[in-house]
C-alpha cells in the first residue's frame, strides 16, 4: 500500500502547512495591528508633506509635459552618446 502511505504523508504535510501558514499570517496581522496602535498613540503626527509634494506644487504652474519630454530626450541622448564610448 505504497500510495496510501504517500497520501497520508501528503495530507499530514498539508495539514501542518496550512496550519502554520495561517498561524504565521495571523500572528503577523496581530503584530501589524498592535504596531499600528502603538505608533498611532506615540507618534500620532501625520506624515509631514514630503519635499516631493512641495516640489510638485512648485512645478505645477509650468509646462510640466514639455519639461518631462525634454528630460526624456536628454537622458536618451546621453545614453546614446555613452554607448558610442565603448566597444
Amino acid at each position: 500500500m505504497h500510495w496510501v502511505q504517500d497520501f497520508i504523508q501528503a495530507t499530514v504535510i498539508m495539514a501542518l502547512g496550512m496550519g502554520v501558514t495561517f498561524a504565521f499570517l495571523g500572528a503577523l496581522i496581530f503584530a501589524m495591528q498592535t504596531t499600528a496602535k502603538i505608533i498611532a498613540r506615540f507618534a500620532p503626527a501625520p506624515e509631514p508633506p514630503p519635499a516631493q509634494l512641495a516640489a510638485l506644487s512648485a512645478a505645477q504652474d509650468m509646462d510640466k509635459g514639455a519639461v518631462v519630454a525634454a528630460i526624456a530626450i536628454a537622458v536618451k541622448k546621453h545614453h546614446a552618446d555613452k554607448k558610442r564610448g565603448i566597444l
Binding site: W3, M14, G17, L25, G26, A36
Partner: protein, 448 residues
C-alpha cells in the same frame, strides 16, 4: 578538479603537438560532447578521492586539410543533432525558441523567460560545452549561483527593496487571504500523489513538495526549494511557475466567477486608511522577528526579503536601496535565468515528468485561486458587518501585480465604480509572504 582544470588550459604540452594521431582523435571529440552535457548533472555522491578525470579537450594531431574539415564537420551542430540522441537536443532548442516567443511576443514574464530560453538553447549545443565543467559559462553560473541558492536569495533582496507593503498595512485583515491561497501549494501535494497513481509517474515526496511550491506563484521561491529538493526538476518547475504567472489573467477569472455570487462580486470595501511611515519601517522587522521566533527555516528567503524592504523603507539608505532595486536585481535576474536554463537539458526536460509538472502547475494556480476566494467567503460568514469582496481573494496567490489587477478588473466589470485594486494589492503582497512561509514550513518538516 581545479588542478585538472588548469591542466585543460595549457592542454597537452606543446612539443607533442605534431605527434601522429589521425582521425581517432577527432572521433573522441564527438563522443565526449554529449557526455560533457551529462556531466552538468550534479553527481550526488562521489566520494572525495575518486573525482572523475577531467574530460580532455583539444587534440594534438597533425592537421591536414581533410582532417581539419572532418573535425569541423563532426563538430557542427548538424552532425551532433543527427547522431545518437542529438535530435532531443534539437527539440530542446526548439523549446528555447518557443520560450523566447512566449516571452517577447506574448509578454510571458520576459525578464525571466528570455534568459531561461537562452540558457536552454546554449546548454543544448553539445559541441559548445557551455554547460560542462569546469569552464562552461552556464556551468559556472549554475555552480556558483544556483546550486548554492545564492541568486534566488539576491533576487529576494531586490524584490524586498521593490515591494510596498502599504496596501496590506492599511488593511491587515486581508493578509489572511495570503495564507489561504497557499492551498495552492499544499493542495497540489495531494494532486501529485493522485498523479502518482497513473503509470509512469512516481514523484517522491520531496519532488512533490518542489512541484507544489509552484502554487506559491513566486519564481525565486520555487527555484530555491527545487534547488534543495529536486534540482533535476528545477527547469520544468521554473518554466511552469513563470508561465502560469503570466497566464494568471486567463486562469483566474473563470474560477473566480464560478465560486462567487453576483451579490458577493458587488461588495464594496471601506476606504483604505493612510499608513504611517513608521508602520512601513517596522513591517520588515516584524516579519523578520516572526521568522526568527517561529519559522527559522524560512529565514534565508524572508531575511533577504526583509533586508531589502527595510533598506527601502529606512529613508536614509537611498544609495543601497537604488542599487538593490536595479543593479543587484537585474544582474541576479540575468544570471538566475541563465542558470535555470542550464537545467533544461533534453534528459531532464523531455520526459513524462515535465508533462506532469505542467498539469500540476495549472492545478496549483487553480487551487490557490480557489483557496483565496473561499477564504474571503468564510471571512464574510464570520464578520458579516465588515465584508470582504471575494474577488480580491484570488490576489492572495501573489503573482504581483497581475493577480491584483485581475481582481480589480473583474470588480469593475460588475460595478464600474468599485475599485478593488488597493485591497487586492494588500492580499497580493500578503501572498508573497505566504508563499515564503509555506516554503519555510515544508523545509522545516523535512528538517532543513
Amino acid at each position: 578538479m581545479i588542478i585538472g582544470g588548469l591542466g585543460l588550459h595549457t592542454g597537452i604540452s606543446e612539443n607533442k603537438l605534431f605527434a601522429s594521431q589521425g582521425p581517432a582523435g577527432v572521433e573522441t571529440l564527438t563522443q565526449t560532447a554529449p557526455a560533457s552535457v551529462q556531466s552538468a548533472i550534479p553527481s550526488p555522491a562521489l566520494p572525495a578521492g575518486t573525482a572523475a578525470p577531467a574530460p580532455k579537450k583539444g587534440h594534438s594531431g597533425e592537421i591536414s586539410f581533410f582532417n581539419g574539415l572532418v573535425s569541423i564537420a563532426k563538430n557542427t551542430g548538424i552532425y551532433a543533432f543527427m547522431t545518437g540522441s542529438g535530435w532531443k537536443s534539437l527539440l530542446m532548442i526548439i523549446v528555447g525558441c518557443i520560450l523566447i516567443y512566449l516571452g517577447v511576443a506574448r509578454n510571458f514574464e520576459p525578464l525571466l523567460l528570455v534568459p531561461i530560453a537562452f540558457g536552454t538553447i546554449l546548454v543544448n549545443v553539445a559541441g559548445a560545452g557551455m554547460g560542462s565543467e569546469p569552464h562552461g559559462l552556464l556551468w559556472l553560473v549554475f555552480k556558483y549561483g544556483i546550486e548554492n541558492e545564492l541568486l534566488p536569495l539576491l533576487v529576494f533582496i531586490g524584490i524586498g527593496a521593490m515591494s510596498d507593503f502599504g496596501p496590506m498595512l492599511a488593511n491587515p485583515r486581508v493578509a489572511i487571504l495570503g495564507a489561504a491561497a497557499q492551498f495552492g501549494v499544499f493542495g497540489t501535494l495531494l494532486g501529485v500523489m493522485a498523479l502518482n497513481l497513473l503509470p509512469g509517474f512516481d514523484f517522491s515526496l520531496k519532488e512533490a513538495c518542489a512541484i507544489a511550491i509552484i502554487g506559491g506563484a513566486d519564481g525565486p521561491t520555487s527555484i530555491y526549494v527545487s534547488s534543495l529538493f529536486a534540482p533535476h526538476l528545477m527547469g520544468s518547475i521554473a518554466v511552469a511557475a513563470y508561465s502560469y504567472m503570466a497566464m494568471v489573467p486567463l486562469i483566474q477569472p473563470p474560477i473566480m466567477r464560478l465560486l462567487t455570487t453576483d451579490k458577493e462580486r458587488l461588495i464594496r470595501m471601506s476606504q483604505v486608511r493612510e499608513v504611517h511611515r513608521l508602520e512601513k519601517l517596522m513591517f520588515p522587522l516584524l516579519v523578520l522577528g516572526l521568522c526568527v521566533f517561529i519559522l527559522p527555516s524560512a529565514l534565508p528567503l524572508m531575511g533577504c526579503f526583509a533586508f531589502g524592504n527595510f533598506v527601502k523603507e529606512s529613508g536614509c539608505l537611498e544609495r543601497l536601496s537604488k542599487t538593490m532595486q536595479n543593479e543587484l536585481m537585474n544582474l541576479a535576474t540575468i544570471f538566475l535565468g541563465l542558470g535555470v536554463g542550464m537545467q533544461m537539458s533534453a534528459d531532464k526536460f523531455l520526459n513524462l515528468q515535465t508533462l506532469g509538472i505542467i498539469a500540476l502547475g495549472l492545478l496549483a494556480f487553480s487551487l490557490g485561486t480557489a483557496g483565496g476566494v473561499m477564504c474571503a467567503k468564510i471571512i464574510n460568514k464570520l464578520t458579516p458587518n465588515n465584508l470582504v469582496n471575494p474577488l480580491i481573494g484570488s490576489a492572495g496567490v501573489s503573482a504581483f501585480p497581475m493577480a491584483a489587477r485581475v481582481s480589480n478588473k473583474l470588480g469593475l466589470q460588475y460595478d464600474p465604480h468599485n475599485f478593488l485594486l488597493m485591497h487586492a494589492l494588500g492580499a497580493n503582497v500578503a501572498g508573497q509572504v505566504g508563499s515564503v512561509v509555506a516554503a519555510g514550513v515544508i523545509l522545516a518538516i523535512f528538517g532543513y
